[in-house]
């Protein structure tokens, strides 16, 4: 097991090195001056430019430059954003929690909605309920996320006026930034209007969560259903039934545990799609997360920000992938032995 973890860790380090080489080379591949792309400063005066060139090792070979780049990444000096002139790491620290919060709620919804629906659909595979669930799953899987978001906004915000269209909380609520996770910050802020602020934040998060959860939920439904059906055919299920366990006991003790294994693996695989969809969702709902920021940076040709954003997001995706892989192995004795 330890050997397995070490192997995974080694792979992670290797992938990170590949990613950082890519991010580093973007400093040269992007238009403009490499010094500007790395520092994020424009109009650098001549004497400062010489000093920075030495500091960034831009006068030595590419390998030294890359090592200096890695050192800066680990020491937290990520350069400035062209647009705001603020340190990039600072900006990302503020934005990343918003994206993680949204993605986490969407994943939770997809668990608590997708898995039960998948099981129900598997119980009677040819029944009417199962067919309805499968149809909805296919529809949800194929609907373009921006169109779905606009439909929901049209209905619930503009038509019925129930839910807001943008942001994380009503702008009149002043919530200090502590963790960056809105609901946690409201609880930590300890104001006397906590309940109102919490309800307001929930109203803001409802639509984006539904939109973002749609795709992973449908994936969950289909995988849980297929894997349930698979497991149901196994001989140990028949044995358990023959031993006299009732349907619910078999389902819970033998079926579910085995059926959910491939589903856990799916989370890792779907995470990159989830982050991509989160970017679109963030743009539509003006959600102040890293995805919207990255898209804005692309429009503004904010090269240092694109570089840093790509590195953060891809590292995040790879790490989550690895983590679910490890979880999958932990829960699956067969894979552990390999």
């Amino acid at each position: 097991m330890i050997l397995y973890l070490l192997r995974r860790l080694f792979l992670l380090v290797f992938v990170f090195i590949a990613l950082s080489i890519l991010a580093f080379s973007l400093g040269y591949l992007f238009p403009g001056n490499a010094l500007q792309n790395f520092t994020g400063m424009t109009d650098i005066p001549a004497e400062l430019a010489t000093q920075l060139t030495a500091e960034y090792r831009l006068d030595s070979g590419y390998i030294q430059q890359y090592i200096a780049y890695l050192q800066r990444i680990f020491s937290g000096d990520w350069g400035l954003s062209f647009a705001s002139k603020q340190p990039l790491l600072q900006e990302i620290k503020i934005l990343l929690p918003a994206t993680l919060e949204l993605a986490a709620y969407a994943l939770l919804v997809s668990f608590f909605v997708g898995i039960p629906l998948g099981i129900i659909a598997a119980i009677k595979p040819d029944g009417i309920v199962s067919r309805i669930i499968s149809t909805l799953a296919i529809a949800g899987y194929s609907i373009p996320v921006f169109w779905w978001a606009l439909l929901l906004i049209m209905l619930f915000s503009l038509g019925l006026g129930w839910l807001p269209t943008a942001g994380r909380i009503g702008v009149l609520y002043e919530i200090p930034h502590i963790t960056g996770f809105m609901l946690a910050d409201i609880l930590l802020a300890n104001s006397q209007h906590q309940t109102e602020a919490l309800l307001n934040a929930l109203r803001h998060i409802l639509l984006p969560t539904i939109v973002l959860a749609t795709f992973p939920t449908t994936v969950m439904i289909r995988f849980t259903r297929d894997s349930m059906l698979d497991v149901w055919e196994q001989s140990y299920i028949k044995t358990a039934r023959a031993k006299g366990l009732n349907r619910a006991q078999v389902l819970y003790r033998h079926g579910l545990r085995n059926a959910l294994l491939p589903v856990i693996r799916q989370i890792g695989l779907q995470f990159s799609t989830l982050i991509t969809l989160a970017m679109i969702t963030e743009v539509i709902f003006s959600w102040p997360g890293i995805g919207r920021w990255l898209i804005d940076s692309i429009y503004q040709r904010n090269y240092p920000a694109i570089q840093a954003g790509l590195l953060v997001i891809s590292t995040l995706v790879i790490s989550v992938n690895m983590l679910t892989e490890i979880l999958h192995t932990l829960f699956n004795p067969l894979a552990r032995k390999r």
Partner: protein, 530 residues
């Protein structure tokens, strides 16, 4: 699930905290450049900061356009019109915030500090933020005002180098906000002089709380305001550059007031019972300026020919949707100096062709039309306007190319006079007609780069300077009449339209009026709590 239901139902819950219940959300179209009105010209910034955070010495009555006392209770002018003495209001308090506690009320030191920053190159803050004071430079402030001195703690004397009848009006503009000298000394002692423009302290109805770039600006009520306290406890400027999104936020009541609804959608908005539309005639002009320093635009006949070739009536309909008055002069008809006897410029392409031939361009020529990339009151859609003009110009053999850049580069390139011609405009800051002539078309404006026609004409400059030397309105009017006549002959720019200003707001909001002379004030806004 019960939590979600509760969340949806809470939309109509009455138990809300005071800061939220009486708080006002104004959805604006862009981020401010700075929090000091002296440094900026954009209407977006002025709307967001000037009237909310600061007071001026004088105010303009929005109805009559006359000057009213504000921080100065009264003022006297000597006979030659070169010395103005102001008596200042006592007991006016500056904002108390997390970053500054005022130790004394407003006095003459603050006035001197404020105006010396603009004109004294040795002032510790003069070069803070670049040393540019665009409005004051356009009215030649540094050469006009010789010095500002305190004659006592609450009297101030301005000594001018020559009489200038627009002086008081300029003091009443949103740009002439009074800063705190005590706060200036404090940020200087902290070694962070830049904070004076990013963390503002003023005497206005609201105090600054926070600013998140491209997201929001948050103000709270100034508890020790010298006038009646502001009605909203909290004021938030929600920054929503996208027009459609701003409208959506109005309909979902996330915004209480929305700046600049698109004129194309006014019909749709007025159908809704929960939303009102306010309109007001505004002192502005949208125009097409020729770079008169570049051939062939240095020839008045060419400029006239181009002007005559444009179908302005069609533009009024297609670009302004009829919500604008056709312009015949740079001055709007509501100004007291407007020349109603000016002949109407005909839309006559045959005559335009003849004029071009006379100037030696019988076969036409190629030119650029620069169209600004943003929506402004005076020109809601410059690109569309440019396309229509392109078609009109093709009729007289002039091949026009439309050029546009991102807004900041656009303005920078304009100041360098890289353009052939440009579609842009101007919103007045005060009721004085001088505010339309000097910042737009004088030689000093050509030097500072705000004269889009790059036009420096001695005759014209003499006329508008003479108009400033007297305070007799009749005499001034005759000079301005002549100046308008001269402009109509020289045509450095083609005046297109005076647009109306619109604002959409929830019908439970009252007490807001559109000020025709600059920034909006939100201190009197009342939210009718259900």
């Amino acid at each position: 699930m019960p939590l979600l239901v509760a969340a949806v139902v809470s939309a109509c819950q009455p138990q809300l905290p005071e800061t939220v219940r009486s708080g006002l959300v104004y959805c604006s179209e862009g981020s401010p450049e700075a929090f000091n009105p002296q440094l900026v010209t954009s209407g977006t910034t002025i709307d967001a900061i000037s009237q909310q955070l600061y007071d001026r010495l004088l105010d303009i009555d929005p109805q009559s356009g006359e000057l009213k006392p504000l921080l100065a209770t009264h003022w006297q002018v000597n006979d030659s019109g070169t010395v103005y003495e102001f008596t200042l209001r006592s007991g006016v308090q500056f904002h108390q915030t997390e970053y500054f506690t005022p130790g004394r009320p407003f006095n003459s030191d603050d006035v001197i500090f404020t105006f010396n920053r603009i004109m004294d190159k040795n002032h510790p803050f003069h070069y803070q933020g670049g040393g540019n004071y665009p409005f004051f430079q356009s009215v030649d402030w540094a050469n006009l005002v010789e010095r500002v001195v305190a004659t006592s703690e609450n009297t101030v004397r301005f000594e001018l180098s020559r009489p200038d009848s627009s002086f008081l009006s300029n003091l009443a503009t949103d740009f002439a906000a009074i800063l705190s000298a005590e706060y200036g000394a404090a940020v200087l002692a902290q070694g962070q002089p830049g904070r004076i423009d990013s963390h503002p302290i003023g005497t206005g109805p609201f105090r600054f709380k926070e600013y998140q770039k491209d997201v929001l600006i948050r103000y709270y009520r100034h508890k020790n305001y010298w006038r009646e306290q502001a009605k909203p406890e909290q004021l938030v400027f929600d920054i929503v550059p996208n027009n459609a999104r701003r409208m959506a936020k109005l309909f979902t009541h996330e915004c209480d007031v929305v700046a600049f609804p698109r004129v194309a959608e006014l019909g749709l908005i007025s159908q809704r019972p929960d939303v009102d539309v306010q309109e007001s005639t505004s002192m502005n002009i949208g125009f097409w300026a020729f770079n008169t320093a570049k051939p062939p635009f240095d020839d008045a006949r060419v400029r006239l020919a181009l002007a005559m070739a444009i179908n302005r009536e069609a533009i009024l309909q297609a670009v302004y949707f009829g919500y604008a008055t056709a312009a015949n002069s740079v001055l709007p008809p509501t100004s007291w100096a407007y020349n109603a006897d000016l002949p109407q410029l005909p839309f006559d392409q045959t005559q335009a062709k003849a004029l071009l031939a006379e100037a030696g361009y019988a076969n036409g020529f190629s030119m650029d039309i620069w169209a600004m990339p943003v929506q402004r009151l005076y020109n809601p859609n410059a690109l569309k306007m440019a396309e229509m003009m392109q078609a009109d110009l093709a009729q007289i053999g002039v091949r026009a190319t439309i050029v546009s850049y991102e807004w900041n580069s656009f303005r920078r390139k304009l100041s360098n006079n890289e353009h052939d011609s440009v579609l842009i405009g101007w919103s007045a800051d005060n009721a004085d007609p001088d505010n339309f002539f000097r910042p737009l078309l004088s030689c000093s404006a050509a030097q500072t780069g705000t004269n889009r026609a790059n036009w420096c004409d001695a005759n014209f400059d003499r006329l508008i300077s003479q108009a400033l030397l007297t305070s007799d309105q009749k005499q001034r009017r005759s000079y301005y009449m002549a100046a308008q006549q001269y402009l109509a002959e020289q045509m450095p720019l083609l005046s297109i339209a005076h647009s109306q200003r619109f604002q959409a707001l929830n019908s439970d909001i009252s007490g807001i009026e559109i000020n025709p002379y600059g920034g909006i004030s939100l201190a009197t806004a009342v939210k009718d709590v259900k």
